[in-house]
Structure formats: structure tokens, C-alpha cells
Point group: C2
Chain length 347, copies 2
């Protein structure tokens, strides 16, 4: 049995304790400074207040001040922070990791660079590490919401990284009867798909609010518009995956991931509010300022694509849905889906 240290006790980081404990590993769950109350509660009775579920028995919970001891001797370090915590993770956590420990990150996002680049977090982390350290950076893509993983629902994910042997070890450590793990060395493809779907889940869920604006909240949904947006999302994601150098098979993970995100979480709430007619500002106020990966990734990707357009390497006319979602977020534009811009001619 191995020792697995999870840093970040939010929903997804904590949910990783289920396959880890079910396989008999020692699990050390370390809260960040944002997770203090979570760790207090887990220590008290094992209940995770955000997941609203009891964590598996036998988990060792640590406050951030105890990080060093929690990492000491670990065989695997799971990065459980959100995209907003990546810099912190690099600065505070990675220096404590011993040489050759594999890192497996649940963080979904991309780092935008000045010249239109979009860097995956495994690559970003590697760039930031001192070159004398030998750490294998891996990450998880594919459709998997935290609370359903905690319910041990069948979930299909993909672990990506550069080293096939490490990936196989990670799979052996974490595969269970309900946690199904594919492997890929296409880090750019897996991670870009995992990040982009957050932007497009926002785009698709606009349709949920649009019909509610017309027919009333909680009305019977219409699926033709959602499906049209879903298809357009797949097209634009595929287009950007090719542009970034990711393999097209990743549209499989990205498509499933888009599907679950549309139905799963807070992004749907934001898209619905926008579709109903609220401005971005008012919608965010209603959601009480929660930070949304979908908003962050939309801004980053759109900025990168606009920069590429300036450099003659991209054309925003190929990305009309991204462009519109960005306009809603950044320029407080009202929702008006550019349907006709989605029409294509393959003649």
C-alpha cells in the first residue's frame, strides 16, 4: 500500500480520497488556508461540509501548517487546488516534494501567455520548477464531478503525463470498480479539452436561461437550441485543440466532460442567469461572487485567441461562440446567440 498526500481539501481533491482509500492506501488530506473549517470538521466526524458527504474512514486530515509532515514519505502527491491556487501550489507545496515523487493534478485550466500561447498546468509547473528537481507532472481529464465520485458512481477519466510507466503506476494505484482510467501521453490534448469545456459549458447553458426568459423559470426545456450550441462547442473545441497541437481523440473526453459540466454545477447556474437576461455583473452578484473556472478560462482563452488573430494565426470568425461568451463576460453584452455565424459550408 502506498502513501497518498492530497493537497487541497476542496470538493475534487477530497473526492479523490474515495478511490485512494478503497484501494487501501494511506490518505493524508491537507487543507489549504481556505479549507481550515473543512479540515476541522473532517477531523471531528469525517464529514465534508462542501461535498455534503462523509469521507471514507481512516483518512488523516492536516491543516496547512502541517504540510511538511504530511508530504514526508508520500508516494504520490495529488494536487487538489483550483486553477486560482496553482501559483500557490507551485510556490508553497512543490518545494517540499522530494525528488521523483509523481504529482497528479485535478486542476483544470490553462495559463495564457503574452504571445497567444496556452500552457497546460503540468507544463507550467515543470517550467517553474528548479531544473535539478526530477518530478513527474501528471493530470486528470475526463468527465467526473466530485460528488458523484464520492458516491462511487461509474466515472471515466483520463490520466495524462509524459511517462507511460508513471501513468501505469498511477492507474494501478487508483483504479477501482467504479473509477475507470484511460491513459494518454497527449498532455496538451487532454488538458486543453478539460479546460476548454468549462468555457463552453457556460455557452451551452445560455440556452437554458433563454427559454426560461420566454416561458418562465423551470419551464419545460427545449433541446434543439442546447444541442446546436453543444455541436458548435464541439466544433470550436476541436478547432482549438488542433491549433494547440492536441490530438483529435480528445474531443471524446472533452465531449463527455462538456456534457457532465452542463448538467453538473455552478457554471450552468451562471449560464442560465445570463440567458434569462441578467447582465454578467448582476448574475455574479446573485451567485455571491463565487469564483468560477468557466469565467476565468473563457477570459484566458479568448485573450490568447485574440492575440493569435493579431499575429495572423487565428480567426475569431472560427470561434463565434467563444467570442460571444467573452463579450457577455468582459463587455457586459446581452445574450444574443449568433446562430447564423455557426452555419458552415463543406462544399
Amino acid at each position: 500500500m502506498a502513501i497518498i498526500t492530497i493537497v487541497g481539501a476542496g470538493m475534487m481533491g477530497s473526492a479523490m480520497s474515495f478511490p485512494a482509500r478503497d484501494n487501501g492506501h494511506e490518505v493524508r488530506l491537507v487543507g489549504t488556508h481556505l479549507d481550515r473549517e473543512i479540515i476541522n470538521r473532517v477531523r471531528k466526524d469525517g464529514f465534508h461540509p462542501k461535498l455534503q458527504r462523509s469521507l471514507p474512514g481512516g483518512i488523516k486530515a492536516f491543516q496547512i501548517e502541517e504540510l511538511e509532515g504530511a508530504i514526508d514519505g508520500a508516494d504520490l502527491l495529488i494536487g487538489g487546488v483550483s486553477s486560482f491556487g496553482v501559483d500557490w501550489f507551485i510556490e508553497k507545496v512543490l518545494p517540499l516534494a522530494h525528488d521523483r515523487i509523481p504529482v497528479l493534478s485535478v486542476t483544470k485550466g490553462l495559463k495564457d501567455e503574452p504571445e497567444g500561447g496556452l500552457l497546460t498546468f503540468p507544463h507550467f509547473m515543470k517550467d517553474k520548477m528548479s531544473p535539478d528537481k526530477d518530478i513527474s507532472f501528471n493530470a486528470i481529464g475526463g468527465p467526473c464531478t466530485s460528488y458523484e465520485l464520492a458516491d462511487r458512481r461509474d466515472s471515466a477519466v483520463v490520466f495524462c503525463g509524459e511517462d507511460p510507466a508513471v501513468l501505469k503506476d498511477l492507474k494501478k494505484m487508483l483504479t477501482t470498480s467504479y473509477y475507470h482510467i484511460s491513459l494518454s501521453t497527449d498532455v496538451v490534448g487532454v488538458e486543453s479539452a478539460a479546460a476548454l469545456k468549462n468555457a463552453y459549458a457556460l455557452g451551452v447553458s445560455l440556452a437554458v436561461g433563454l427559454i426560461e426568459r420566454e416561458k418562465g423559470i423551470e419551464c419545460r426545456q427545449a433541446y434543439n437550441p442546447q444541442a446546436a450550441l453543444f455541436g458548435q462547442a464541439l466544433r470550436e473545441m476541436g478547432h482549438m485543440l488542433r491549433m494547440l497541437g492536441g490530438g483529435s481523440e480528445n474531443i471524446v473526453y472533452g465531449g463527455g466532460d462538456l456534457y457532465v459540466t452542463i448538467f453538473g454545477g455552478r457554471t450552468r447556474k451562471l449560464g442560465t442567469l445570463l440567458g434569462r437576461g441578467l447582465s454578467f455583473h448582476d448574475a455574479m452578484a446573485k451567485l455571491e461572487g463565487i469564483t468560477l473556472e468557466s469565467v476565468a478560462i473563457t477570459k484566458r482563452v479568448a485573450k490568447a485567441m485574440y492575440r493569435r488573430q493579431e499575429l495572423g494565426q487565428a480567426d475569431m470568425n472560427d470561434l463565434p461562440l467563444l467570442k460571444h461568451v467573452y463579450d457577455i463576460i468582459e463587455n457586459d453584452v446581452s445574450v444574443a446567440i449568433p446562430w447564423k455565424a455557426f452555419e458552415r459550408e463543406y462544399l
Copy 2:
């Protein structure tokens, strides 16, 4: 303004009268022998009993005995039959069509051939026509349920055919503010995607019933399993599209189409019943023997793929979801999703 004759007054054929009439065309709706009551009702007060909506004003409704007059002088013939009516359409309707009339078919399906071929209906129709007739066969793919088209919800479809000029004419005739038409000369790709999604919508909706079996009917759904099946469906559809020679961009239409079919119709009901634990036989009895495109296409495609496997041209291990759905339908096997067979290694 043109004269558009729709043969087949079922839900989708009849729904095509909305964009047609909204563009001011003369619309002649001809019922098959199965549609007699529908036509009677439409003639009486314009209400379509299956769509449960009033058709647009000014439609001319015809019984099958009046077919010849209804086709006479038409500028466009829309084939509105289901896949079960294609032979009838070829035998009874096409001989009445004058030379050079374009046909636009809403029928979704593929014809399986002895040596593992899967023929699109436009190609099948062309093969069956006498060679001295010059008819352009075109078809509609993409996500569009009939009742939402009748509600004038934004719907994105793709018209496919061999002749770009004809496709552009068809688009001009039928494009409206809510009916968004892409064009493609990749008939194999568009039509295969449109057909395959029916099989896979059945596969994905098994998950809806599986959780109901455990937690009770109408329980809160789990989306990780659905999303895993959705991703696997995209993978297998993409695999077969490549095998059949269709372009990979069709996964965009196929993916949207899969999405709307999962939420839209009878296929979801069947998949849900099967997932709950009913045998195929019992589930079909409960659905009162309605004929389902999803069942027909699953059988046809699986048979073709098994034949290809015999010929060394395919491997059913690449299609584990299709294989399982076929086993449920054909061999009365209980639902047991082969999750581990979905795992892939791209190393």
C-alpha cells in the same frame, strides 16, 4: 415562391412545413397509408394529433390516393417517411417524381449490405432509380426534434447532397430566423452520424435507468456515468465514421444530434426501461410495440460490423458499447455496462 411537396405526414415530415410555410412557399402535405387520420384532422382544423400542435395556415393536405396530383408541378420533394418506409418511398413515390426535381429526405438510417457495407439512404435511393432519371438526392442531418422545430426553436441542421448548387438552392428555400442550415457534400459522413446517434442514444440512456433501479424512479440523476457513455459513444461513432469514409467534422453534428436524442424522445424511454432491469422483450411490450429507429439501426450496424470482423476489416473490441446494446436487443442480455472495456491507452 416554390411548391414544396412533403410525402409522409408523421412528426418530422409535418414539422418541415414550418420553415417552408414561413418562407411563403406552397406546401402540400401528403399522408402515407399510415397517416390517414392525421390528414383527416389537418384538413378539418389544421391540428396535427401526433405533433400536438397546429400546423401553419395555408397547408394543403392530401391523402395517399391523391399523391400524383400533389407531386405534379412541385419544385421540391421532401421525403418524410421513417426508415421503415424507405422501400415504399422508392417504389411508390419516386416514380412519380419528374426529372431533375430535388429530393430532400428527413429519414435517418443506413441500409446494411451483405458484405458489411452500410449504405446511406440518398445512395440507396439513387442505386434503385432507373438510370435515365436525373434526380438529386439530398438529406438532412443534425440535431432537430420535430416538435421543437414546430415551436420554431433555434435548430441547427445540415443539408447534405452531391451537388453544391442544389444544396445552396435548398438552403435558400428553407432557411429562416430559427432554422439554421449548414451544407455538406459529405453525404456518407452526415448520414452515418445521423443514423448512428440513434443506436448510441439508447446506449447512453441505459445509465438513466441503472440509477433508477438503485435509487428509485425519478430519482436525482447521476451524470458521471451518462457522460462516460456519451464520451464512449462519440469515440465509437468517430471510429465508424472513419471506417465508412465520412469526415471527422461530422462528429460535431453527430454529437449534437446524440445530445438532443438522449433528451428528446422514445429512445430514452426504452433505454431507461432496460437500465431499470426490464428485458428487451418486456420493455418493448411496455412501449406497446412502437417501432424504434434506434433498435433498427443498432441491429443493422452491429450486423454489418460483425460481418466486417469476419472479413478482418473491423474489431468488435473497438465497439464495446455497440456490442453490448446489440446483445441486450438481440440476445436478451441484461444491462451490465462494460466499463473496463472503455478504458484506452494512448501511450
